[in-house]
């Protein structure tokens, strides 16, 4: 049986394949990677009955325009507007794309949305994963116009029932553009509090931050007045996690995303939770941010 394919008509600014990421690759210097909002990508997979390991598409802003060579079942999660041909389609629900039809996906009120196709995006894995690591330059290349994406057979029919409910997080994000409200990022205390200034934690929580122009899957950089007290000495390099809030000598913190470096050498002053990472994925430059203790 011939499987379907998705032809990329327009990839938008940046569309990447993502999956559960790379395990056990740290000894080669390779970080896990994976979706910026793991729950949203998992939800998309579940909605179309995919194996949780199936690859989805992470769409930055959009519009992403795809054409199905055969009828396909698709779901889109996150703050998205979706059309099949000219008809609007509900997000957070599976829907059919007829053969030859065009599917248009864009982010509205956020930055990133996830698209799953029943069977998964079956591009060749690299080091055990179909995730693009933008920092390392590893994994499937970003989508380009004219690409043809094979659809796989990573289907677990019983997973239809397991599809999660739309996340409230997905719709509450886009409040920062007007500068009126700040997105709240739940944050846990840092792993080495004794190496930080005694006020570092309180200062992080007290300040209002703004997302800087330099924000991508590696890190979201923040601006604020005043900057935090710069650390006195750089720390020894050690392993990093997505969500780690690092304080470089500038005193302006950055929050690491899924494509963070494997190790880092500046002090970590807090750790954003997984749900906070989901919110982080939706931030655009200029958005307001506050850290709230969890």
């Amino acid at each position: 049986m011939t499987r379907g394919r998705l032809r990329v008509v327009d990839p938008g600014p940046l569309t990447l394949t993502v999956d559960a990421g790379r395990r056990g690759m740290a000894r080669w210097g390779v970080a896990p990677g994976g979706p910026f909002d793991r729950a949203a990508s998992d939800r998309a997979n579940a909605l179309v009955g995919n194996d949780p390991a199936a690859a989805t598409l992470e769409v930055l802003l959009g519009p992403l325009v795809l054409e199905a060579t055969r009828a396909a079942v698709v779901a889109v999660t996150g703050p998205a507007a979706v059309r099949v041909g000219d008809l609007p389609v509900e997000v957070e629900r599976p829907f059919a794309v007829p053969a030859g039809a065009r599917l248009t996906v864009r982010a509205v009120g956020g930055a990133r949305v996830w698209l799953a196709v029943a069977g998964g995006v079956d591009v060749p894995p690299v080091l055990g994963s179909r995730s693009r690591d933008t920092l390392a330059g590893l994994g499937p290349s970003p989508l380009a116009a004219g690409d043809v994406l094979p659809v796989g057979d990573a289907i677990s029919p019983d997973r239809y029932a397991a599809a999660g409910q739309p996340s409230a997080v997905a719709v509450q994000h886009r409040v920062g553009a007007s500068g009126s409200l700040a997105v709240e990022l739940p944050v846990l205390p840092p792993p080495r509090p004794e190496t930080l200034a005694p006020t570092a934690w309180d200062d992080l929580l007290r300040c209002a931050w703004t997302v800087a122009a330099e924000c991508d899957r590696v890190a979201i950089r923040l601006r604020g007045e005043p900057a935090l007290a710069a650390p006195e000495a750089s720390a020894a390099s050690e392993g990093l996690v997505a969500g780690a809030v690092q304080l470089p000598p500038s005193g302006l913190p950055l929050v690491f995303g899924p494509d963070h470096p494997l190790t880092g050498g500046y002090p970590v002053i807090g750790v954003v939770t997984a749900s906070g990472l989901g919110a982080l994925a939706q931030l655009r430059p200029g958005d307001g941010v506050r850290f709230v203790p969890r």
Binding site: R23, G24, M25, A26, R27, W28, G29, V30, P32, V126, L127, L135, A136, G137, L138, L188, P189, P190, P191, R192, P193, W201, S234, A236, S237, E238, G239, L240, V241, G243, A244, P261, L262, T263, V271, V272, T273, A274
Partner: protein, 239 residues
């Protein structure tokens, strides 16, 4: 703030790091490598990956485990008898990797001046040791090498470069390393190599793995001429 409970910190220095990770403090990179291998091998259901460094092992946990339970299991392995009896388990038979280097790096003259050496002496001191690949980090194929001559120890550059060429051989603090691909970087550039440090299609993908030993071999014998050329090029191109 309330990170961790005092009694835990005294038993084993084991620190929660976000929701799905722990940091285990270790005295050195060799012990970090040994502990990392044991955690991955002996707790496959709980430990997704382990990231050793010179000061700690980052333990990535499979999501969904109760934090307290995960901490207890990891702490048990860290403090367990196997660790005491064997000491740091020896690295698997590590290769000795020779890396040919053209010592014409943009910072060679400055490093020499700051260390009170001639460029040729810097090269001689950089090629003399057999380094130990301590741990991987920063980027795929980037390995921190231990064993740098103490006279060559310098802090990172005050103004990190936005682009360091692939294959750059560099030093910072008490480590030396090769940049596997073009990237930003704050280390001092001594030279460059054509050896491919990382190839995702190869098995293994990295040329040097933690535990290996590494020697640098100077390709250019007339270091002073290379330094002059680098200085001339640098004067034209700026920093």
């Amino acid at each position: 703030m309330s990170a961790g409970r005092p009694e835990d910190a005294q038993a084993v220095a084991l620190r929660p790091y976000g929701e799905d990770a722990l940091l285990v403090d270790v005295p050195d990179a060799e012990r970090a490598r040994a502990l990392g291998r044991r955690l991955v091998a002996e707790l496959p259901g709980l430990v997704v990956d382990a990231v050793p460094s010179a000061v700690s092992v980052l333990v990535r946990l499979a999501p969904g485990w109760p934090t307290e339970h995960a901490r207890d299991v990891v702490a048990g392995l860290v403090a367990g008898p196997a660790a005491d009896a064997a000491g740091p388990a020896a690295d698997p038979a590590g290769a000795v990797v020779e890396i040919p280097v053209a010592y014409d790096g943009a910072d060679l003259a400055e490093v020499a001046a700051r260390c009170g050496l001639t460029p040729a002496e810097v090269v001689q001191r950089h090629t003399a040791p057999t380094y130990t690949a301590a741990f991987a980090g920063f980027a795929p194929g980037f390995v921190y090498l231990e064993g740098l001559d103490p006279l060559l120890v310098l802090p990172r550059r005050d103004d990190p470069r936005t682009r360091v060429p692939a294959g750059s051989v560099a030093i910072a603090a008490d480590h030396t390393a090769v940049y596997p691909r073009e990237s930003p970087g704050g280390w001092h550039l001594l030279g460059r190599t054509d050896v491919a440090m990382f190839d995702a299609a190869a098995d293994p993908p990295a040329r040097v793995r933690p535990g290996d030993r590494v020697r640098f071999v100077a390709e250019n014998l007339d270091v002073d001429a290379a330094v002059d050329a680098a200085v001339d090029a640098g004067a034209g191109a700026g920093r």
